[in-house]
Amino acid sequence: MSASASPVGATTARAFDPRAISAAAQSPNLWQLAWRRLLSDKVAVIAMCIVIAFILMSVLSAFGVYTKDWNREVGNNYAPPTFAPGDLSSSDAPPVVVTAASQTGDASALPYTFTTGVKDPLEAEMREIYGALGRVKSSAASAQSSPPGVTSSVVDPLAEDIIAIKKELGRPLDSGLPAAQFRGPVSSVKDPLEDDVIAINKELGRSVAGVAAVAGVMSVAAASEAKIVRAATLPLGGDKWGRDVLKKVIKGSETSILVGFAAAIIATIVGTVLGALAGYFGGWIDDLLNWFYSIFSSVPYLLLILAIAAVLNQKGVFTIIMILGLTGWSSIFRLVRAEYMKHKSREYVQAATAIGASDMRKMFVHIFPNISHVALVQLSLHVVLFIKSEVILSFLGFGVGVDTVSWGSMLNESQSELILGKWWQLTAATVFMAIVVTAFSLFTDALRDALDPKLK
């Protein structure tokens, strides 16, 4: 570390000699050298390209390109991925596209209509239920020769929603979002009937299973999917509600990458400033900050985050960034402090003192450029760490809220899907996360080697 820092230090110290200035202008500085070393490492270049591609994707996604309507139900429930549509013909998979024309000639989508023009708050749910019924019916029809066990294997598509809603209702009343916001379509309408709607929902959900048993004789639901033409397959499949997994996973990348970077930047700034103060001044400031450090480092990290999440009791991207950023600075503090202790007695700092530079100027203008590579590597390391933490927190339900999607919440959904044999959401979230984290880890290793060639 000392060797890599010396070129800049030496230049600063020799800055009074005109010949030295011209020499310094010709020879490459630390960053140019590091950049060259980085470019000569093939793995690093590939990893860097992948990371940049993902960051670009996240930025585009944040501006609403392609993923704006990730929350819309565009496909059949559990639509299989296009590249593996094998499940389409088997057991309980839905038929290709259910349209009004092909079923009956019925004009109305739902078997009832409102004459007043009031938007039916249950419309989406009704569609879903009737959609499920329609599917049950048609699968029963298509498998008429097969044993009657086929219909009974149909799983209540709303069962998990009911559990989720119940869970939401079970929470203390002052907690975050109203229960009805759990489902996309209803959320925009904040009506006083919300609770009733949920109760009705629950009832309806329960009855679906019963109705499904006699689906063979049902004819009402035939025209259910009339207006919404749902795709049979989606690029990476669909989730329980027929949302596009590809859009979800890109949106999830946006959330996770944003949280990772923002939290890592906060943690690096906090850790660097505190480390600089402790290392440069020493004395009681050092003792005090070291005390803080020992407190933060003796509580295991995830436990600390969970404890804070329990007290704050509010979800959201901003909250989780602040929690991760403000608790994760301790290892950065330790390293930066050690660097400042080493550098503060160097000749170039003494020279700066001699020409009357202030403490702040010495700390952040003179010393900081010489230790910035340590901070940069730590920043990069912490991005990976925080992405992983965010995934776990969101999985447990303490991370991002229900109105956003992250890899963690996708993994949470996929847990129950897997038992039904719907592997695509799990695979999509896993592969995306593995690519980003692997690329970032390899890039971090290469960055450290490039900035500090003595380590290798």
């Binding site: 295991p300 995830l302 776990i392 447990l396």
Partner: protein, 312 residues
């Protein structure tokens, strides 16, 4: 040695006080009046009034802090807000299952990772080494959640080799029936980072002069690696394992949750979900104390296994 011990214990004191203060600030000052949290859980107003009195909510902060400090040192956190179980009883029953998973996990992981790391370090810079290192990087990039979800689904649900979840009453039933898959999944998760870390320890030793001397005097490669290199590379490994232990206790909380193992980690998550503050406070404080004690033990053990180390 004893002077060192006394000094270290003395140094632990301000840190412990700091942790207590930190937890106190979070729960009593940021968290606010527990009556708000309790309103949704406990229906009888007398009980809420009782809890408020126990915590001294209406008294000045320094009184509340003193109550909290007394709680920490007398192991008396009162009853859980959700289940009404005494927090001390909760610890007594929840810690053994956690250890039944954590200790075998740690032992298997350490032995396996050490063997693999020595092998990889021996063939350093070769294709094998590079391939294993890249495999480790990729394995580390897959979330622990995926290991658990897929492992549980595939080995327990699909193949039926293990129990999907559950916990019995006898030790043998638990250890060899229910804890088996959780331990194996835990090993699979922790193997990659352990190999990477232990490989660097082994590489530090493998280039030392004494290794060259051992080879020069005609010692076999196996003996060089297993007696000379392993002994020296093992020193940081031992301390690392000891330092890891309290973190691991929390680290397996996800495993405990998925497999319904009634351990301390699952209890901590449940407590966070239910806003059960006494349990969260107790778990945080005691795990922090365990971390400090294990750090001290690690330093002392360092001295025992390596007489060259000078304790300052």
């Amino acid at each position: 040695m004893s002077a060192y011990l006394v000094r270290r214990l003395w140094q632990m004191f301000p840190t412990l006080l700091g942790v207590i203060l930190f937890i106190f600030i979070i729960f009593n000052m940021v968290g606010g009046d527990p009556a708000y949290v309790l309103a949704g859980k406990i229906s009888s107003p007398e009980q809420i009034a009782n809890i408020r009195k126990e915590l001294g909510v209406d008294q000045p902060y320094y009184v509340q802090l003193w109550i909290f400090i007394k709680q920490v040192f007398t192991f008396n956190f009162g009853a859980s807000w959700s289940t009404n179980e005494l927090v001390s009883d909760l610890f007594k029953t929840r810690v053994p299952p956690t250890l039944m998973v954590a200790i075998p996990l740690l032992v298997i992981d350490t032995v396996l990772a050490l063997v693999l790391a020595l092998t990889v370090a021996y063939y350093r810079a070769s294709l094998t080494d590079r391939a294993v290192m890249i495999a480790c990087t990729v394995a580390q990039a897959v979330s622990i959640l995926v290991y658990i979800i897929v492992g549980q689904y595939f080995f327990a649900y699909k193949l039926g080799w293990f129990e999907v979840q559950g916990w019995g009453n006898s030790y043998f039933e638990n250890q060899f029936k229910y804890a088996l898959l959780p331990i194996l999944i835990g090993v699979a998760v922790s193997l990659a980072p352990s190999i990477r870390l232990y490989r660097t320890f082994a590489l530090d030793e493998i280039n030392q002069d004494y290794v060259r001397t051992a080879r020069a005097k005609g010692m076999s490669e196996t003996r060089t690696m297993l007696t000379h290199v392993l002994r020296n590379a093992g020193i940081p490994v031992i301390t690392n394992v000891l330092v890891q232990l309290p973190g691991l206790m929390v680290g397996i909380f996800l495993i405990e949750r998925f497999f319904s193992i009634p351990g301390i980690g699952r209890e901590a998550i449940l407590a966070v979900e239910r806003s059960d503050f006494p349990v969260i406070k107790a778990v945080t404080i005691y795990v922090a104390i365990a971390t400090m004690v294990f750090n001290l033990l690690a330093d002392l053990l360092y001295k025992v296994v390596d007489p060259r180390v000078q304790l300052k």
